[in-house]
């Protein structure tokens, strides 16, 4: 076994938390049952790793075996990367071909190898017609760097691919090209949507979170719907307040729905809009140029936080469409200009 391969496998296994180790090794399916049974997983981690490397050597692990282990690790630790979304499109009048996974993989690999000579490409298919792709980048003259790979998750029945955005930027066009050509598309475009939570990105891109919303009957009278109001509400709140609170709750629910929101960590708005104040008409009145602002919302769970703003009285209901459109428009990066 190559020394670099051994080192790479060792470092990958060291990253794996002990409580996940057997699960991941089983998913890897490289070491046999018999081999795994010889390992005492209750030892100190370094000893376990030593033993595992020894077993890998016995089986002559190659770089592609190592790459596969790395993919599995990343599948278990998706949130360690920030994921971006690419959308592909077919040319006008092009037919929707039947997708052939084998042909896609061959084509994808060939395109990269032809361009770079030194590149490690690995695939792992999952249910939901998705394929995880791992690319370790090299150049014409240097070997691939196994420690800075790019991961791509391509849903073959859709025009969408999710990529880990830690890649070296110069390879982006090539990656885009490979994806587009191999999947028989015409064009690829990066969406303004980014998050650590791959599942949330999927939910937003594929509009999966909307499914429960469809079954909601919006003509149901107010009393029958759960408004989330505290039943033991303070009796000092007088009637008008209750009406307003109910209005806010209803609008919030209509906007965000009853279901848990997809998890995003931030939304960013680049604004170039003129200042228009209701307070004092003379401020910046003669100024033609817009104010250049950059606004960033950050939260462990942005959409849930935004949902709570109007009921808390911090925002008006309905909330601004700039915020509520995030899941619908499938964007969390915006450039806003005066019309």
């Amino acid at each position: 076994m190559d020394e670099t391969v051994a080192e790479f496998i060792k470092r990958t296994i060291l990253k794996i938390p002990m409580n996940e180790l057997t699960t991941i090794l089983k998913a890897w399916d490289f070491l046999s049952e018999n081999q795994l049974q010889t390992v005492n997983f209750r030892q100190r981690k370094e000893s376990v790793v030593q033993h595992l490397i020894h077993l890998c050597e016995e089986k002559r692990a190659s770089i592609s075996d190592a790459a596969l282990l790395d993919i599995i690790y990343m599948q278990f630790h998706q949130h360690q990367k920030v994921w971006e979304v690419f959308q592909m499109s077919k040319g006008p009048g092009e037919d929707v071909d039947l997708f052939d996974m084998k042909q896609f993989k061959n084509s994808f690999k060939k395109i990269l190898q032809r361009a770079l000579k030194n590149v490690t490409v690995s695939f792992r298919e999952t249910e939901e017609n998705a394929v995880w792709i791992r690319i370790a980048w090299g150049t014409q003259y240097t070997k691939p760097n196994q420690y800075k790979p790019t991961y791509v998750v391509y849903y073959s029945q859709t025009p969408y691919a999710f990529t880990s955005s830690s890649m070296l930027r110069r390879n982006t066009p090539l990656l885009g090209q490979a994806l587009t050509i191999a999947s028989k598309h015409h064009q690829i475009v990066k969406m303004d949507l980014r998050s650590r939570y791959l599942d949330s990105l999927k939910a937003i891109v594929f509009k999966q979170y909307n499914q429960t919303f469809e079954t909601h009957n919006s003509t149901t009278p107010l009393q029958e719907r759960s408004l989330g109001l505290d039943i033991n509400m303070d009796s000092r709140i007088i009637h008008e307040n209750i009406v307003e609170k109910e209005r806010v709750q209803r609008i919030t629910q209509e906007t965000f729905g009853d279901y848990p929101q997809p998890q995003l960590e931030f939304a960013q708005y680049k604004l170039e809009t003129k200042f228009k104040s209701g307070l004092n008409g003379s401020i910046l009145a003669e100024r033609e140029e817009p104010l250049r602002c950059l606004i960033k919302f950050s939260s462990p769970h942005l959409l849930e936080a935004l949902k709570s703003l109007a009921p808390a009285g911090i925002a008006d209901a309905p909330l601004s469409p700039l915020l509520t459109c995030i899941p619908n428009k499938r964007m969390n990066y915006f450039k806003i200009r005066d019309k």
Partner: protein
């Protein structure tokens, strides 16, 4: 009575910044004149904008370079009892011994000759061939702190503002020694939203040749269960244009102007997002002059307005002591 007028003496003989940190003789002279004045309102509704021309020639950029671009943690400090500038060597020896006793790792301490006591802490661990790296810096400061000076007797030295950069543990040990030796009391200086707004307005008002940083505000939104932070960055030229449009009284900043400036920002934000920033908590402001965080952290970026920044911070420190 607005006593923030520029020092009437172009500093007598000396252009050392130390005189502005801890005024020795010039300040005592002013103490006399201040005692004759009528009572002083601590947070006046108007204050002079730090004028570049008054202060620039007095501050040697090279000498103050070590103060810039570093994050300082702020404390207020009650007056020091029987502190004497002539005993600095003795103090350094005592502080040294104290630190050695407290921390058995053998930190050596040196004290500079300057009025502002600079404690240079070197580790005596094996890497002695390296040049000593400054691990911790602390300095005492009083800029225009007249209101405090007039109330204390001559046994006391007033250095109400203390800034520290470096490990928290070092700050604690050194602070303990000073508290024991001079019967004073350190207290972390928090900066509330009101004062952060003032800082943002004053620093935006400063005339700059070029901007090194964007003007930025950070609010923390009290929503549950998830926290939400909102950052609002505005191009510094646009911020200045907004300020100039709001600003009416030349040479001074008034409460109304600060409120209006902030309201304009709130209003611009509300127009787009329908969120009332005024219902949230301002925690950080950042400009090309300086940046400040509500936890009492400050970073000064521009030597031209150093004195102005310190003057405001001194005022906050005094306010906290009283």
């Amino acid at each position: 009575m607005d006593s923030y007028s520029a020092p009437e003496s172009t500093p007598s003989a000396s252009s050392r910044p130390e005189d502005y940190f801890i005024g020795a003789t010039p300040l005592q002279k002013r103490l006399e004149s201040v005692r004759k004045q009528s009572s002083f309102i601590l947070t006046p509704p108007r204050r002079k904008i730090p004028q570049c021309s008054q202060l620039q020639e007095d501050v040697d950029p090279q000498k103050v370079a070590f103060l810039l671009h570093k994050q300082w943690t702020l404390y207020s400090l009650t007056p020091l009892y029987k502190f004497s500038y002539s005993n600095l060597k003795e103090y350094s020896r005592l502080l040294n011994a104290f630190i050695v006793a407290e921390k058995q790792k053998g930190l050596a301490v040196e004290v500079g000759e300057d009025f502002n006591i600079k404690i240079v802490s070197k580790s005596q661990l094996p890497s002695e061939n390296r040049e000593g790296k400054v691990l911790w810096t602390g300095w005492f400061c009083c800029v225009f702190g007249d209101s405090l000076l007039e109330t204390v007797s001559e046994d006391f030295t007033c250095l109400p503002l203390f800034l520290a950069n470096g490990a928290e543990s070092n700050t604690a040990i050194i602070g303990t020694w000073f508290q024991k030796t001079f019967d004073c009391y350190f207290s972390p200086l928090a900066i509330n939203a009101f004062n952060l707004s003032w800082m943002a307005a004053m620093w935006t008002a400063c005339k700059m040749d070029h901007y090194v940083a964007t003007t930025e505000f950070l609010w923390s939104v009290p929503c549950s269960p998830q926290s939400l932070d909102i950052s609002f960055a505005i191009h510094p030229e646009d911020a200045k244009a907004l300020w100039d449009s709001v600003h009416k009284t030349p040479g001074e900043v008034t409460q109304e102007e600060v409120d209006l400036f902030m309201d304009c920002l709130y209003s611009h934000f509300h127009r787009h997002f329908k969120i009332h920033l005024s219902a949230t908590r301002l925690v950080r402001v950042s400009t090309s002059v300086a940046s400040a965080h509500t936890d009492g952290k400050i970073k000064i970026l521009c030597h031209k307005y150093l004195i102005g920044v310190l003057a405001y911070l001194t005022e906050l420190a005094i306010f906290q002591i009283e």
